[in-house]
Symmetry: C2
Subunit: 155 residues, 2 copies
DNA sequence: CAATAAAAAGTGTATATACACATATCATGG
DNA sequence: CCATGATATGTGTATATACACTTTTTATTG
Protein backbone atom coordinates (compact mmCIF):
# COMPACT_ATOMS: atom_id res chain seq x y z
CA UNK A 1 0.00 0.00 0.00
CA UNK A 2 1.44 3.35 -1.01
CA UNK A 3 1.50 5.51 2.08
CA UNK A 4 0.02 8.96 1.67
CA UNK A 5 1.63 11.86 3.45
CA UNK A 6 -0.32 11.89 6.66
CA UNK A 7 0.12 15.57 7.37
CA UNK A 8 -0.16 18.46 4.95
CA UNK A 9 -1.52 16.46 2.05
CA UNK A 10 -3.25 18.22 -0.80
CA UNK A 11 -6.72 17.71 0.60
CA UNK A 12 -5.73 19.15 3.94
CA UNK A 13 -4.08 22.17 2.36
CA UNK A 14 -7.27 22.92 0.44
CA UNK A 15 -9.21 22.69 3.66
CA UNK A 16 -6.82 25.12 5.32
CA UNK A 17 -7.41 27.61 2.53
CA UNK A 18 -11.13 27.40 3.10
CA UNK A 19 -11.17 27.52 6.88
CA UNK A 20 -8.21 29.68 7.87
CA UNK A 21 -9.46 32.78 9.62
CA UNK A 22 -6.45 34.96 8.97
CA UNK A 23 -6.14 34.02 5.31
CA UNK A 24 -9.79 34.68 4.52
CA UNK A 25 -9.90 37.89 6.52
CA UNK A 26 -6.83 39.26 4.78
CA UNK A 27 -8.10 38.20 1.38
CA UNK A 28 -11.41 39.94 1.92
CA UNK A 29 -9.57 42.99 3.21
CA UNK A 30 -7.54 43.16 0.03
CA UNK A 31 -10.57 42.94 -2.22
CA UNK A 32 -12.68 45.43 -0.31
CA UNK A 33 -9.79 47.84 0.12
CA UNK A 34 -9.37 47.82 -3.66
CA UNK A 35 -13.03 48.66 -4.14
CA UNK A 36 -12.95 51.61 -1.76
CA UNK A 37 -9.66 52.80 -3.17
CA UNK A 38 -11.16 52.83 -6.63
CA UNK A 39 -14.23 54.73 -5.49
CA UNK A 40 -12.29 57.31 -3.47
CA UNK A 41 -9.73 57.98 -6.17
CA UNK A 42 -11.52 61.18 -7.34
CA UNK A 43 -10.99 62.65 -3.87
CA UNK A 44 -7.31 61.78 -3.93
CA UNK A 45 -7.39 59.92 -0.65
CA UNK A 46 -6.93 56.30 0.41
CA UNK A 47 -9.58 54.49 2.46
CA UNK A 48 -7.14 53.94 5.33
CA UNK A 49 -6.49 57.66 5.42
CA UNK A 50 -10.18 58.48 5.21
CA UNK A 51 -10.61 56.34 8.31
CA UNK A 52 -8.04 58.39 10.18
CA UNK A 53 -9.84 61.60 9.30
CA UNK A 54 -13.13 60.13 10.49
CA UNK A 55 -11.68 58.96 13.79
CA UNK A 56 -9.95 62.27 14.37
CA UNK A 57 -13.23 64.05 13.75
CA UNK A 58 -14.99 61.72 16.16
CA UNK A 59 -12.44 61.98 18.95
CA UNK A 60 -11.55 65.62 18.57
CA UNK A 61 -8.03 66.59 19.61
CA UNK A 62 -6.68 63.27 20.78
CA UNK A 63 -3.38 61.72 21.75
CA UNK A 64 -1.70 59.21 19.47
CA UNK A 65 -1.93 56.39 22.01
CA UNK A 66 -5.62 56.95 22.61
CA UNK A 67 -6.31 57.05 18.90
CA UNK A 68 -4.33 53.86 18.33
CA UNK A 69 -6.36 52.20 21.06
CA UNK A 70 -9.63 53.07 19.36
CA UNK A 71 -8.31 51.91 16.00
CA UNK A 72 -6.97 48.70 17.56
CA UNK A 73 -3.72 49.50 15.82
CA UNK A 74 -0.15 49.54 17.00
CA UNK A 75 0.84 52.99 18.22
CA UNK A 76 3.92 53.15 16.00
CA UNK A 77 1.87 52.18 12.97
CA UNK A 78 -0.44 55.08 13.61
CA UNK A 79 2.49 57.46 14.01
CA UNK A 80 3.65 56.58 10.49
CA UNK A 81 0.18 56.54 8.99
CA UNK A 82 -0.39 60.08 10.20
CA UNK A 83 2.62 61.34 8.27
CA UNK A 84 1.05 61.59 4.77
CA UNK A 85 -2.03 63.32 6.18
CA UNK A 86 0.13 65.74 8.12
CA UNK A 87 2.17 66.45 5.01
CA UNK A 88 -1.01 67.12 3.03
CA UNK A 89 -2.19 69.49 5.75
CA UNK A 90 -5.30 67.46 6.55
CA UNK A 91 -4.29 66.77 10.13
CA UNK A 92 -2.14 68.63 12.61
CA UNK A 93 -0.06 66.88 15.23
CA UNK A 94 1.07 69.22 17.99
CA UNK A 95 2.58 68.88 21.45
CA UNK A 96 0.01 68.29 24.16
CA UNK A 97 -0.80 71.16 26.50
CA UNK A 98 -0.66 69.54 29.94
CA UNK A 99 1.55 66.55 29.28
CA UNK A 100 4.69 67.44 27.37
CA UNK A 101 5.26 63.81 26.41
CA UNK A 102 2.05 63.50 24.45
CA UNK A 103 1.09 64.96 21.09
CA UNK A 104 -2.44 65.75 20.07
CA UNK A 105 -3.95 65.05 16.67
CA UNK A 106 -6.55 67.45 15.28
CA UNK A 107 -8.45 67.84 12.06
CA UNK A 108 -7.54 70.94 10.08
CA UNK A 109 -10.07 72.91 8.06
CA UNK A 110 -8.59 71.34 4.95
CA UNK A 111 -9.04 67.97 6.58
CA UNK A 112 -12.68 68.67 7.24
CA UNK A 113 -13.12 69.80 3.67
CA UNK A 114 -11.52 66.59 2.43
CA UNK A 115 -13.77 64.60 4.72
CA UNK A 116 -16.86 66.27 3.34
CA UNK A 117 -15.61 65.81 -0.18
CA UNK A 118 -14.96 62.10 0.35
CA UNK A 119 -18.15 61.29 2.22
CA UNK A 120 -20.36 60.85 -0.88
CA UNK A 121 -17.73 58.59 -2.43
CA UNK A 122 -17.63 56.51 0.73
CA UNK A 123 -21.41 56.28 0.65
CA UNK A 124 -21.31 55.11 -2.93
CA UNK A 125 -18.73 52.45 -2.05
CA UNK A 126 -20.93 51.29 0.80
CA UNK A 127 -23.89 51.18 -1.58
CA UNK A 128 -21.89 49.09 -4.02
CA UNK A 129 -20.85 46.51 -1.50
CA UNK A 130 -24.33 46.36 -0.02
CA UNK A 131 -25.72 45.72 -3.46
CA UNK A 132 -23.09 43.10 -4.20
CA UNK A 133 -23.44 41.00 -1.07
CA UNK A 134 -26.82 42.05 0.27
CA UNK A 135 -27.64 44.30 3.19
CA UNK A 136 -28.47 41.55 5.64
CA UNK A 137 -25.29 39.63 4.93
CA UNK A 138 -23.17 42.77 5.20
CA UNK A 139 -24.78 43.83 8.46
CA UNK A 140 -24.28 40.36 9.83
CA UNK A 141 -20.65 40.35 8.79
CA UNK A 142 -19.99 43.72 10.38
CA UNK A 143 -21.51 42.38 13.55
CA UNK A 144 -19.34 39.27 13.40
CA UNK A 145 -16.22 41.30 12.69
CA UNK A 146 -16.86 43.39 15.76
CA UNK A 147 -17.38 40.25 17.80
CA UNK A 148 -14.11 38.83 16.52
CA UNK A 149 -12.23 41.98 17.42
CA UNK A 150 -13.72 42.11 20.90
CA UNK A 151 -13.26 38.43 21.62
CA UNK A 152 -9.77 38.16 20.19
CA UNK A 153 -8.63 41.31 21.83
CA UNK A 154 -9.80 40.08 25.18
CA UNK A 155 -8.26 36.60 25.00
CA UNK B 1 -30.44 78.78 16.11
CA UNK B 2 -26.88 77.48 16.12
CA UNK B 3 -26.48 75.58 12.89
CA UNK B 4 -24.92 72.14 13.22
CA UNK B 5 -22.49 70.96 10.63
CA UNK B 6 -24.82 69.08 8.34
CA UNK B 7 -22.16 66.75 6.97
CA UNK B 8 -19.49 64.91 8.87
CA UNK B 9 -20.75 65.77 12.31
CA UNK B 10 -19.64 63.73 15.30
CA UNK B 11 -22.64 61.45 15.23
CA UNK B 12 -22.13 60.68 11.58
CA UNK B 13 -18.44 59.94 12.05
CA UNK B 14 -19.25 57.47 14.81
CA UNK B 15 -21.73 55.80 12.49
CA UNK B 16 -19.08 55.54 9.78
CA UNK B 17 -16.74 53.80 12.21
CA UNK B 18 -19.42 51.24 12.98
CA UNK B 19 -20.63 50.58 9.46
CA UNK B 20 -17.59 51.03 7.22
CA UNK B 21 -16.79 47.72 5.56
CA UNK B 22 -13.16 48.45 4.81
CA UNK B 23 -12.38 49.84 8.25
CA UNK B 24 -13.93 46.93 10.12
CA UNK B 25 -12.41 44.32 7.82
CA UNK B 26 -8.95 45.79 8.22
CA UNK B 27 -9.34 46.14 11.95
CA UNK B 28 -10.37 42.51 12.32
CA UNK B 29 -7.50 41.50 10.05
CA UNK B 30 -5.04 43.29 12.29
CA UNK B 31 -6.31 41.64 15.44
CA UNK B 32 -6.53 38.13 14.00
CA UNK B 33 -3.16 38.44 12.28
CA UNK B 34 -1.66 39.31 15.65
CA UNK B 35 -3.18 36.21 17.22
CA UNK B 36 -1.85 33.88 14.54
CA UNK B 37 1.51 35.59 14.56
CA UNK B 38 1.76 35.02 18.28
CA UNK B 39 0.80 31.37 17.98
CA UNK B 40 3.15 30.65 15.08
CA UNK B 41 6.13 32.36 16.63
CA UNK B 42 7.67 29.06 17.86
CA UNK B 43 7.85 27.91 14.23
CA UNK B 44 9.56 31.12 13.18
CA UNK B 45 7.09 31.87 10.40
CA UNK B 46 4.48 34.55 9.80
CA UNK B 47 0.84 33.64 9.07
CA UNK B 48 0.99 35.31 5.65
CA UNK B 49 4.01 33.18 4.82
CA UNK B 50 2.35 30.03 6.13
CA UNK B 51 -0.49 30.75 3.71
CA UNK B 52 1.94 30.87 0.81
CA UNK B 53 3.38 27.48 1.77
CA UNK B 54 -0.12 26.01 1.99
CA UNK B 55 -1.16 27.37 -1.39
CA UNK B 56 2.05 26.21 -3.02
CA UNK B 57 1.48 22.74 -1.57
CA UNK B 58 -2.08 22.76 -2.88
CA UNK B 59 -1.26 23.96 -6.37
CA UNK B 60 2.01 22.10 -6.87
CA UNK B 61 4.53 23.77 -9.16
CA UNK B 62 2.63 26.87 -10.20
CA UNK B 63 3.29 30.13 -11.99
CA UNK B 64 3.32 33.40 -10.09
CA UNK B 65 0.35 34.82 -11.97
CA UNK B 66 -1.78 31.73 -11.35
CA UNK B 67 -0.88 31.73 -7.70
CA UNK B 68 -1.69 35.43 -7.38
CA UNK B 69 -5.05 34.75 -8.98
CA UNK B 70 -5.91 32.08 -6.41
CA UNK B 71 -4.76 34.32 -3.57
CA UNK B 72 -6.72 37.26 -5.00
CA UNK B 73 -3.55 39.25 -4.60
CA UNK B 74 -1.69 41.59 -6.90
CA UNK B 75 0.93 39.71 -8.88
CA UNK B 76 3.72 42.08 -7.90
CA UNK B 77 2.78 41.76 -4.24
CA UNK B 78 3.17 38.02 -4.48
CA UNK B 79 6.55 38.36 -6.17
CA UNK B 80 7.84 40.33 -3.19
CA UNK B 81 6.15 38.12 -0.60
CA UNK B 82 7.89 35.07 -2.06
CA UNK B 83 11.31 36.62 -1.45
CA UNK B 84 11.70 35.86 2.28
CA UNK B 85 10.52 32.27 1.77
CA UNK B 86 12.93 31.82 -1.11
CA UNK B 87 15.73 33.24 0.98
CA UNK B 88 14.90 30.81 3.79
CA UNK B 89 14.92 27.93 1.33
CA UNK B 90 11.28 27.03 1.93
CA UNK B 91 10.20 27.69 -1.64
CA UNK B 92 12.02 27.54 -4.93
CA UNK B 93 11.20 29.84 -7.82
CA UNK B 94 12.67 28.59 -11.09
CA UNK B 95 12.20 29.41 -14.77
CA UNK B 96 9.29 27.58 -16.34
CA UNK B 97 10.06 24.65 -18.62
CA UNK B 98 7.91 25.38 -21.65
CA UNK B 99 7.40 29.10 -21.34
CA UNK B 100 10.61 30.98 -20.67
CA UNK B 101 8.69 34.03 -19.52
CA UNK B 102 7.06 32.29 -16.61
CA UNK B 103 8.57 31.11 -13.37
CA UNK B 104 7.27 28.22 -11.34
CA UNK B 105 6.99 28.17 -7.58
CA UNK B 106 7.53 24.86 -5.76
CA UNK B 107 7.72 23.74 -2.16
CA UNK B 108 11.14 22.51 -1.09
CA UNK B 109 11.63 19.66 1.36
CA UNK B 110 12.51 22.26 3.97
CA UNK B 111 9.29 24.04 3.10
CA UNK B 112 7.29 20.89 3.62
CA UNK B 113 9.02 20.32 6.93
CA UNK B 114 8.18 23.88 8.01
CA UNK B 115 4.60 23.32 6.92
CA UNK B 116 4.31 20.18 9.02
CA UNK B 117 5.96 21.93 11.93
CA UNK B 118 3.58 24.88 11.75
CA UNK B 119 0.38 22.92 11.22
CA UNK B 120 -0.26 22.12 14.91
CA UNK B 121 0.32 25.77 15.79
CA UNK B 122 -2.17 26.83 13.11
CA UNK B 123 -4.66 24.34 14.50
CA UNK B 124 -4.20 25.74 17.98
CA UNK B 125 -4.76 29.27 16.65
CA UNK B 126 -7.93 28.10 14.91
CA UNK B 127 -9.03 26.46 18.15
CA UNK B 128 -8.43 29.68 20.06
CA UNK B 129 -10.44 31.83 17.73
CA UNK B 130 -13.23 29.27 17.57
CA UNK B 131 -13.39 29.24 21.33
CA UNK B 132 -13.33 33.02 21.50
CA UNK B 133 -16.11 33.77 19.01
CA UNK B 134 -17.91 30.46 18.77
CA UNK B 135 -17.84 27.88 16.01
CA UNK B 136 -21.13 28.84 14.41
CA UNK B 137 -20.25 32.51 14.27
CA UNK B 138 -16.81 31.79 12.84
CA UNK B 139 -18.17 29.45 10.19
CA UNK B 140 -20.79 31.99 9.26
CA UNK B 141 -18.17 34.72 9.01
CA UNK B 142 -15.91 32.61 6.80
CA UNK B 143 -18.89 32.00 4.57
CA UNK B 144 -19.68 35.71 4.44
CA UNK B 145 -16.06 36.62 3.74
CA UNK B 146 -16.02 34.25 0.79
CA UNK B 147 -19.25 35.76 -0.46
CA UNK B 148 -17.78 39.25 -0.17
CA UNK B 149 -14.69 38.24 -2.11
CA UNK B 150 -16.71 36.59 -4.86
CA UNK B 151 -19.27 39.36 -5.13
CA UNK B 152 -16.81 42.24 -4.95
CA UNK B 153 -14.42 40.59 -7.33
CA UNK B 154 -17.18 40.12 -9.87
CA UNK B 155 -18.59 43.65 -9.73
C1' DC C 1 13.88 65.72 47.24
C1' DA C 2 16.21 62.08 44.76
C1' DA C 3 15.90 57.66 42.65
C1' DT C 4 13.25 54.86 40.11
C1' DA C 5 9.28 53.11 37.81
C1' DA C 6 5.76 54.16 34.43
C1' DA C 7 3.98 56.45 30.40
C1' DA C 8 4.09 58.81 25.72
C1' DA C 9 6.27 59.03 21.70
C1' DG C 10 9.83 58.32 17.84
C1' DT C 11 13.23 55.35 14.91
C1' DG C 12 15.38 51.27 12.72
C1' DT C 13 14.15 47.35 10.45
C1' DA C 14 11.29 43.98 8.18
C1' DT C 15 7.22 42.37 5.95
C1' DA C 16 2.64 43.22 3.23
C1' DT C 17 0.33 45.64 -0.34
C1' DA C 18 -0.44 47.66 -5.03
C1' DC C 19 0.22 50.92 -9.06
C1' DA C 20 2.92 52.60 -13.01
C1' DC C 21 6.38 51.41 -15.85
C1' DA C 22 9.92 48.51 -18.13
C1' DT C 23 11.64 43.98 -20.09
C1' DA C 24 11.56 39.54 -22.05
C1' DT C 25 9.11 36.05 -24.46
C1' DC C 26 5.30 34.03 -26.96
C1' DA C 27 1.65 33.91 -30.47
C1' DT C 28 -0.47 35.49 -34.69
C1' DG C 29 -1.30 37.53 -39.10
C1' DG C 30 0.55 39.19 -43.29
C1' DC D 1 9.80 34.96 -41.64
C1' DC D 2 8.85 39.26 -39.43
C1' DA D 3 6.15 42.81 -37.22
C1' DT D 4 2.96 43.46 -33.72
C1' DG D 5 0.16 42.66 -29.98
C1' DA D 6 -0.48 39.76 -25.95
C1' DT D 7 1.49 37.54 -21.87
C1' DA D 8 4.65 36.72 -17.74
C1' DT D 9 7.49 38.85 -14.91
C1' DG D 10 10.41 42.34 -12.41
C1' DT D 11 11.43 47.29 -10.34
C1' DG D 12 10.69 51.93 -8.42
C1' DT D 13 7.94 54.12 -5.35
C1' DA D 14 4.53 54.79 -1.77
C1' DT D 15 1.58 53.39 1.91
C1' DA D 16 0.27 49.96 5.84
C1' DT D 17 1.72 47.19 9.59
C1' DA D 18 4.24 45.91 13.92
C1' DC D 19 8.33 44.70 16.97
C1' DA D 20 12.52 46.03 19.50
C1' DC D 21 14.84 49.72 21.18
C1' DT D 22 15.55 54.57 22.62
C1' DT D 23 14.36 59.17 24.50
C1' DT D 24 11.71 62.34 27.03
C1' DT D 25 8.68 63.43 30.56
C1' DT D 26 5.64 62.29 34.41
C1' DA D 27 4.46 59.85 38.60
C1' DT D 28 5.77 57.21 42.78
C1' DT D 29 8.09 56.05 46.65
C1' DG D 30 11.75 55.83 49.94
Amino acid sequence: MAKQNTSCNLQQCREIEQTCAVFNLRKASRVVTQLYEEMMKPAGILPTQFTLLVVTRALGPVSISRMAEVLVMDRTTLTRNLKPLEREGLLSVRPGKDDKRSREVSLTSQGLKKLEQTLPLWKEAQRRIKKAVGVSRLDRMLDDLTAVVDATWAS
